[in-house]
Symmetry: C2
Subunit: 225 residues, 2 copies
């Protein structure tokens, strides 16, 4: 299980309708994506130097421009790769068939994500949070793509919270979609703070407070109320 | 009343123990601070161009280096100015003697901050959140200064939540300091998202959910539970 700051496996998903690339071509693109994700989850877009990314990927400028027309196109591809990667990471916890409690599945996502950040010394944050914070200095096409990525993660989280409501883990007056929106607003703040302080506490403070605030009294995850 | 993205008044506070500066000297420093805050609350540190800040402040490079030894020293001065400015802004709401309900004072802070962001079209965020997100690309001295600023704001918020607990607006099992930490973790996430989406909704979703989650049943700010 990998964390939110972890990097997708080296083989990129094949796009429907496009001819398969030559293996070497795929490998150089994947190496650029991996290096780009490492740099941008750690430093953000403005501070990420293309030269350093190329050096890490062992790729020349001409190979880069063969795959990506510009830094902007590259950045948007990173958003797509990270969004899809993280959606799978989320689903692994939120749809875990071995865990019947939906609230525990949400809790478990947060702890897995924490483990992912810890593995990188809390230096890497969420690509979407990093770029969201920088949005005013980014090309405008990033805005819709970042918002859509967060909406996708919210929808997956809302489905889990809907399960929690159906099972009576949270009160029937709660709106799963509204709660999921609240979760992602706060979670990005928690990742930001965990990176700043280089420790797990902000992730736990946020997640445990969020779950405690919605769990029905007597739920194993609810504090004494 | 000014918002979180608003800029401090042009006269900087006099430092104890330092001789007063010549008025012109003070004015040029204040203009640089104002321009720096505008650029960095909007674009962050890495994307902020010193040339653009100088042009806006009408200051030459030599005037800049007369006041600040480097971009780093300038950035740290901006953190100090913004931290102190925002502490006064927070206190204006959280210690408002005209509002007896502590939870309403917290709610009122959030709405004032929202008005401040709205005035700038939600383009400007929180300087501390922006720089916190960029921390891995910033000189290391920023880390302690950013954390200390957040701790200061948390302490002011904890005092307000302590009032709420004393008055029975929140349950006696709540720890005001822990709640204040949760508030600031989530609030920075909400400001990030409001800036990304250029609208107030994330601030309201977070704040109303936070207050609803801690207010005692029947409190005017508590939703039906």
């Amino acid at each position: 299980m990998t964390g939110p700051a972890a990097i997708p496996p080296s083989e990129p998903p094949r796009r429907r309708g496009r001819p398969p690339r030559a293996p070497q071509d795929s490998a150089s693109r994947a190496a650029l994506i991996r290096a780009g994700l490492e740099h941008l989850t750690e430093r953000g877009y403005a501070a990420a130097a293309l030269d350093a990314i190329l050096a890490q990927a062992g790729a020349s400028k001409s190979v880069f421009y063969h795959h990506f027309a510009s830094k902007e196109v590259f950045g948007l591809a990173l958003v797509d790769e990270y969004g899809a990667f993280f959606a799978r990471f989320l689903d692994a916890a939120l749809r875990d068939p071995a865990q019947p409690s939906a609230l525990l599945r949400l809790w478990s996502f947060a702890r897995s994500a924490e483990a992912g950040m810890a593995r990188h010394g809390f230096r890497r944050g969420c690509l979407i949070g990093n770029l969201g914070q920088e949005m005013n200095a980014l090309p405008e096409p990033f805005r819709a793509r970042l918002i859509a990525t967060l909406r996708d993660w919210e929808a997956r989280t809302a489905a889990c919270l809907q399960d929690a409501r159906m099972a009576g883990e949270i009160g029937p007056h709660h709106d799963p979609a509204a709660l999921a929106a609240r979760f992602w607003i706060g979670w990005e703040g928690a990742v930001l703070r965990a990176k700043l302080e280089r420790r797990a506490a902000p992730l736990r403070i946020f997640t445990d407070g969020f779950i405690d605030g919605i769990a029905v009294p007597g739920h194993p995850l609810a504090a004494m109320r």
